[in-house]
């Protein structure tokens, strides 16, 4: 018995040892592949070092010949790249595909639609790995971590979690071979924005969508008919109104609604969506973010980076990060929100209710305003029309009130992006990999492909008039471009042919981005451009992995504490009505959750990264 126990122990020890050896082997393998990637890049090494420092410059690959017309020809592998891409021989690249339930992929996309067009234009067939929209992020994570991801992985909202695993390529090592991408960075002066995505090793791993301008997505949709009837000309007031002014206007609108018997004196006229815990945006949601940004600070649901956890904002004058919750602006913001709750304007259920509850209050005319964004606008209009009847209301998307600044909320000129699986680098020679990157460059950053993926084929699915206005040909309408159906014989271009889908159309000029907007939306963006300014980008703070983990750990407790206090103030809870009286206690509670440690760690990392 003793002998068998000893044997078993030895066996288990051996298994553990072998496991460790196997793990070690895996690492060395991956570092080898990393080395091969680096050596593969040696041809452009001087450029890549330049890239790590900042500027994205172009470099020729072996066999490149300039055609002189914005295109180049690679004699070694036989393909044209640049403004167009065309391979002499048929190529097949594997690619992830986010299959959206609103417009699920159909066979016709491959025989007549977008994928046939891509093949016709480039001689490249895309081998799709289709994943449902709801599972996409998780499946991508699985495939990257398992090392089995397709070469091209679009629609990526983050990459940091895959960097250490070596599953994706440091694309910044290869952008010198991508003329459209680098051209777009130069043209729209996006280098500083792109640099924000660099990891601790100075490289970035995701080719983000690049936009000429940041278009404010979220705003407030009001019942203009009620505001007009209450005597407020919002089209004038919105140009300069502050949150305090806005609250006064809302009080007047409420008085009018009560006087007309539309609501009772105890009812609220603003009950919002995207703020409750069930909305997926976290406590406070979009609303506190919008308000905070107008004060030049951060609050909850902020810009998807690590500072989110700590609500840090960048103080340009002091050149350092500070805690938003410690500022006078933060106090002012809380007072504005609490005041609206106290005055019976803003429904405190905003922070607890489900989005659909907020929707139903607005659709049925019980409230006078609600949050909106581009993709919700049309649906909200239709839902109100269904409840109130067309012609019985007027909706208007307002310019957000100002805090201490005239900043609009959105300031990012980037979108979700594309990652390249390390398997591509392992499977291909350097020249072949550069060819893949140039195809990606064409598909996601060239004017030709961006227009094609959005509008289809000129003459077949769309036309452009002399003034540069795009319109679909008579047989088509497109829900994705918010172009409504006008006759029964029309088909939805996105559903039938796959254009205007979410997998490709990220980047582009302001003209292209706004080319499909309705007149109302164009008007909204014109007003935004005239009366609001773009908030400066905070610099990137590349934290080391250990620091990142530590900040996350501190941040979790800090965030909970902060959100608890925010809700107490905003919901006007008993004992928290006097914000000034509670302020010191609030600050002490945050300090007790490592606030200063988080600030110090960020600032140290920021200073070190300079």
């Amino acid at each position: 018995m003793k002998t068998s126990k000893k044997l078993l122990s030895m066996l288990l020890a051996l298994v553990m040892l072998l496991s460790l050896v196997a793990c070690g082997g895996g690492n060395s393998g991956s570092s080898n592949s990393g080395n091969s990637g680096n050596s593969g890049n040696s041809g452009g090494s001087s450029n890549s070092s330049a890239n790590n420092g900042g500027g994205e410059e172009q470099a020729p690959a072996p066999g490149d010949v300039d055609n002189g017309d914005g295109t180049f020809y690679n004699e070694e592998l036989g393909y044209t790249y640049g403004a167009t891409f065309k391979s002499d021989e048929p190529l097949t690249y594997t690619i992830m595909f986010n299959d959206n339930d609103a417009y699920p992929i159909k066979d016709s996309w491959k025989t007549d639609g977008i994928f046939k067009t891509i093949t016709d234009m480039t001689n490249v067939s895309l081998d799709l790995n289709e994943v449902n929209n709801a599972s996409y992020g998780e499946k991508v994570g699985l495939l990257i971590n398992a090392g089995t991801a397709p070469y091209i992985i679009p629609k990526m909202y983050g990459d940091a979690q895959y960097v250490n695993g070596g599953g994706i390529v440091a694309v910044s090592d290869w952008v010198q071979y991508m003329p459209n991408y680098t051209g777009m960075i130069d043209k729209y002066d996006l280098q500083a924005d792109v640099d924000l995505n660099r990891q601790a090793d100075g490289k970035y791993y995701r080719l983000e969508g690049l936009k000429e301008t940041a278009l404010q997505d979220y705003s407030l949709l009001i019942r203009k008919d009620l505001f007009d009837a209450a005597g407020y000309d919002v089209t004038e007031l919105e140009k300069t109104w502050t949150w305090e002014d806005f609250a006064e206007v809302l009080k007047g609108v409420k008085e009018y609604m009560v006087s007309q018997g539309i609501i009772g004196a105890n009812d609220y006229i603003w009950s919002d969506r995207w703020c409750g815990a069930t909305s997926g945006y976290g406590t406070g949601g979009y609303l506190l973010r919008l308000i905070a940004h107008s004060y030049g600070i951060e609050c909850t649901w902020s810009a998807g980076n690590l500072t989110y956890n700590a609500d840090l904002y960048y103080d340009e004058a002091a050149d350092e990060f500070k805690m938003s919750a410690g500022t006078d602006e933060f106090k002012q913001m809380l007072k504005v929100v609490q005041g609206m709750v106290k005055d019976g304007i803003l429904d405190p259920e905003t922070w607890t209710q489900d989005d659909t509850v907020a929707d139903s209050k607005f659709y049925t005319g019980k409230t006078a305003l609600i949050g909106t964004n581009r993709s919700m606008l049309v649906a909200q209009d239709e839902a109100v029309a269904e409840q109130l009847g067309a012609g019985n209301y007027e909706l208007y998307e307002i310019l957000l009130p100002m805090g201490t600044t005239s900043y609009q909320d959105d300031n990012s000129r980037k979108e979700c992006g594309v990652c390249i699986s390390s398997s591509a680098l392992n499977d291909m020679s350097e020249s072949e990999f550069i060819r893949l990157m140039r195809f990606v460059d064409w598909l996601f950053y060239s004017d030709e492909a961006l227009t094609m993926t959005k509008w289809g084929v000129e003459g077949e699915t769309y036309t452009v008039d002399a003034d540069g206005n795009y319109s679909l040909t008579p047989g088509y309408y497109c829900g994705g471009l918010t172009i409504p159906q006008t006759s029964d014989d029309q088909v939805d271009m996105r559903i039938e042919l796959g254009y205007a889908g979410g997998n490709y159309m990220y980047s582009g000029s302001r003209e292209l981005l706004a080319s499909a907007f309705s007149a109302d939306l164009r008007d909204f963006y014109d007003r935004m451009a005239e009366y609001r300014t773009l908030r400066p980008q905070a610099p990137a703070v590349p934290l080391e992995e250990d620091d990142s983990e530590m900040v996350n750990m501190w941040g979790a407790g800090f965030k909970t504490e902060l959100e608890t206090w925010i809700l107490r103030f905003c919901m006007n809870q008993d004992g928290y009505q006097d914000i000034d009286a509670k302020w010191d206690e609030f600050q002490a509670a945050l300090q007790g959750q490592n606030a200063q440690n988080i600030i110090d760690m960020y600032n140290n990392a920021y200073q070190a990264s300079k």
């Binding site: 078993l8 299959d99 959206n100 339930d101 609103a102 699920p104 790995n129 289709e130 994943v131 449902n132 929209n133 709801a134 599972s135 992020g137 998780e138 499946k139 699985l142 971590n145 398992a146 090392g147 089995t148 909202y157 997505d217 995207w274 069930t278 909305s279 997926g280 945006y281 659909t356 509850v357 929707d359 139903s360 209050k361 659709y363 049925t364 964004n373 581009r374 993709s375 919700m376 649906a379 839902a383 269904e386 409840q387 979108e415 979410g502």
Partner: protein, 290 residues
């Protein structure tokens, strides 16, 4: 002899009343979501948006059910679920019992090593990524087998079965062997027929497991036409809840979600009252006689 009724004390009566009221309240809380779901599934989207639907449907209609079922897609996923559940349950019963039976024999050489090793897997798994890599290395990606295999043997169920098999009198098996049966014959001709209670219970366990399993389908099935209804339902719900992709988001109508949920849960909900006693029995069968 006339039976004397046991007199209940006042305290006991109060306790019974309180108990009943409490249980009724808890039942109502648990039932409410289901009733609300059913009411929504028979209501119009407009009524749901207006927040008018409570316990009873508003604008009663079966259009959503008709649309869902007419689309063909849902029916296909439903069909997949039925095939996977039946096939998976049959295979799982076969393999689990074939593992549990020899383990129930104390004379099995290495039993004391194999048993703990099997139990070890209850506490420590290989992890999602390594498991996934193993499956695709075996060529099981996007295959029905890839979906079925990970759930074929549940350690917990094997332990329950092993405990049951251990209660079968040794003399019966020895009699079979004397009549010329080999070990496999004894298993199939004597042990299995005597183990119908535990087999029935395990069949139900495995059936529910496969019916509700969306995660293995998410991992191993790539082709849309192969997915089971549970994954389809999960996608529907996640799509509505997923706010990250707001720029390209879709609004799944509440009545469509409700219908899909009702249709998916209905078979199990209908069957559950009838099979509940087997679930309880199953626990007792395996648990008490270990």
């Amino acid at each position: 002899m006339a039976s004397a009724k046991i007199k209940q004390s006042n305290a006991y009566r109060v306790f019974t009343v309180c108990n009943t009221v409490l249980m009724a309240l808890i039942s109502a809380v648990m039932l409410y979501p289901f009733i609300y779901l059913i009411a929504q599934s028979f209501s119009s989207a407009a009524a749901i948006n207006a927040g008018e639907v409570g316990l009873l449907p508003v604008d009663f209609n079966v259009d959503t059910y008709k649309n869902i079922l007419a689309g063909g897609e849902f029916v296909r996923y439903y069909g997949n679920t039925i095939v996977y559940s039946v096939l998976g349950t049959a295979l799982a019963l076969l393999l689990s019992s074939m593992l549990a039976y020899p383990l129930s024999k104390v004379e099995l050489k290495g039993n004391k090593i194999i048993g703990p090793l099997i139990i070890f897997t209850m506490y420590f798994g290989g992890g999602m990524i390594p498991s996934y890599v193993v499956m695709i290395t075996l060529g099981l990606r996007d295959t029905v087998a890839g979906f079925l295999f990970p759930g074929l043997i549940s350690t917990y169920y094997v332990i329950l079965m092993r405990s049951f098999f251990a209660t079968i009198p040794k003399e019966l098996e020895e009699a079979g062997e004397m009549d010329g049966l080999n070990k496999i014959g004894v298993f199939f001709r004597i042990a299995l027929p005597l183990s119908m209670p535990i087999m029935a219970t395990m069949a139900l366990f495995y059936l529910v497991q496969y019916w509700n399993d969306w995660f293995d389908a998410f991992l191993y099935l790539d082709t849309k036409t192969k997915i089971p209804v549970a994954l389809h339902l999960r996608n529907l719900i996640s799509t509505a809840a997923n706010a990250e992709d707001a720029g390209d988001s879709i609004q799944v109508a509440a009545n469509i979600k409700s219908c899909a949920m009702v249709l998916t849960a209905a078979p199990i909900i209908c069957v559950y009252p009838f099979i509940q006693k087997y679930f309880v029995q199953g626990m007792m069968l395996g648990g008490v006689k270990g």
